[in-house]
Amino acid sequence: MAYSEKVIDHYSNPKNVGTLDKAKVNVGTGLVGAPECGDVMRLQIEVDEASGMISDAKFKTFGCGSAIASSSLATEWLKGKTVDQALSIDNMDIVEELNLPPVKIHCSVLAEDAIKAAINDYRVKNGLPELVAEKKHH
């Protein structure tokens, strides 16, 4: 199976690889997936408290090229969005943008889960109730 140009580009030049200080109140961390499933994503957002905007986003991913590309793309999309806007990122947007084949859709689902998990972590840290996401079929 050949990878799309965009997946190859994100894999070769991943955007926003790294680690934010998870101890900070304005940093939300989402860790999803499992080593035995072959993919683990950690996605972090840093929220500018004055504007409510996501000022920085970082990821680290253990997984195939599509998983790496999905999380790299997610961090790009997160930056500059408000937390509420970020919640509207749908895995199918990622599938479309990266031209993921059906066998790789789970990578995009994982990225969406990682975004939601990071946002929830941020919300809980800031005294907001956890959002219960509708469960997508993996």
Partner: protein, 406 residues
């Protein structure tokens, strides 16, 4: 230095056709097109003669006699013929077969089929190094056991089973011994008599011969072994496998066997030296593990796990330039890592992190150097990107984390 890319290091999947084999085949794809079963004209005679000669070349490589070679379409068909053929032929003696969990799917799925037909199959677990435990093997034998099916050399990890010891146990209990020799024949010395093998499958395209041709060795003396035909028709191959013989393929298989026989000793040394060099260089990386027994191993195979990077992602770093295989099957619907690696007791994380190297006749030292550099670079890059690597470096026990399984 310019190198021709891509580099092919997946010789356990298939090997390129040796030009000398193609040359031997050409006349039988062109002017000598006769049917080897045509007894009444020169076209048939030429074909038959070529098949007889190939049969001798093949028999010689494995220490058999020409009449003991049954041509098939490949090793998968030969595996089917051996297992189903013995099961049906020896139904009056029993219905129990012993095999092991690291066999090729062509053996495992055939055994499953036999179970559906009413047979009993024991799937022996292997030890952590991939070898079958002989005590457990012997203990699994019952008075209904008719066949032991244990492969010679494993396709994923290259581990060579203790064939002679297994055959001794089989003999002692009057049980037939079948071995899938696909990865071993032509690569290491195999002798059906010294090894005590009753049936053995092998294939042309794993030893620089053509695809679509293989053979089943069926012992004719001490004991005389018979298998029930699985393909009915004109009664070719002493009634065990009907169908017009694939003359060019058979000629190619014969030539491939001859070349392997002549070059095996030197080639085996060359390959194992190159493989060891590759392996030692890659083992300089932290948290790299060789899978399977390193001593009892085919000379051209290495299987290495690079902890905390995922195999498919790893391959993407260089698969434009290097062709090899990963134990991780993230592209398949199942997302299951290699069952062979899991049978060794590897955790799914290590199984997902593995690469299989299959060196071959046309592999060069320069290609090995290039591969080592490319893999090292990619492993380091991906570890910088891996949350698991970061946690490992921070001293976090990954087993202590409650992962969200999906």
């Amino acid at each position: 230095m310019t190198m021709k890319l891509p580099i092919y290091l997946d010789n356990n999947a298939t090997t390129p056709l040796d030009p000398r084999v193609l040359e031997a085949m050409m006349p039988y794809l062109t002017e000598n097109f006769g049917n080897a079963a045509s007894r009444n004209h020169s076209f048939g005679w030429a074909a038959e003669e070529a098949v007889d000669y190939a049969r001798e070349q093949i028999a010689k490589l494995i220490g058999a006699t020409p009449k003991e070679i049954i041509f098939t379409s490949g090793a998968t068909e030969a595996d089917n013929l051996a297992i189903k053929g013995v099961y049906e032929m020896y139904a009056s003696k029993g219905n129990h077969i012993i095999t092991c969990t690291t066999e090729h799917k062509a053996v495992l799925d055939t055994c499953k089929h036999v179970e559906k037909m009413g047979g009993q199959v024991t799937y022996l677990d292997v030890e952590a190094d991939g070898l079958v435990d002989l005590t457990k093997l012997e203990a699994a034998i019952t008075d209904k056991t008719i066949l032991i099916a244990i492969m010679y050399g494993n396709n994923e990890i290259g581990v060579i089973q203790p064939i002679r010891e297994i055959s001794k146990i089989a003999r002692k209990h009057g049980v037939l011994f079948f071995t899938d020799g696909t990865q071993a024949v032509g690569k290491i010395p195999v002798d059906v008599n010294a090894d005590g093998i009753d049936l053995m499958s092998f294939s042309g395209h794993k030893m620089y011969g053509p695809k679509g041709v293989g053979a089943l060795y069926v012992r004719r003396k001490n004991p005389r072994v018979k298998v029930t035909s699985q393909i009915d028709g004109g009664g070719h191959e002493r009634g065990m496998r009907s169908g017009t013989l694939n003359v060019p393929g058979i000629v190619g298989l014969g030539k491939a066997c001859e070349l392997c026989m002549n070059e095996m000793e030197e080639e085996g040394k060359r390959l194992s030296a190159m493989r060891d060099r590759l392996e030692n260089a890659l083992m300089e990386l932290e948290e790299a593990y060789v899978n399977g027994n390193r001593e009892h191993r085919l000379p051209h195979t290495a299987n290495i796990s690079f902890k905390h990077v995922e195999g498919e992602g790893l391959m993407m770093g260089f698969n434009k330039n290097i062709a090899l295989s990963s134990g991780s099957a993230c592209t398949s619907a199942s997302l299951e890592p290699s069952y062979v690696l899991k049978a060794l007791g590897l955790g799914d994380d290590l199984a997902h992190s593995s690469l299989r190297f299959g060196l071959g006749r046309f592999t060069t030292d320069d290609q090995i150097d290039y591969t080592v550099n490319a893999i090292k670079e990619t492993v380091l890059k991906l570890r910088e990107m891996s949350p698991l690597w970061e946690m490992y470096k921070e001293g976090i026990d990954l087993n202590s984390i409650e992962w969200a399984h999906h």
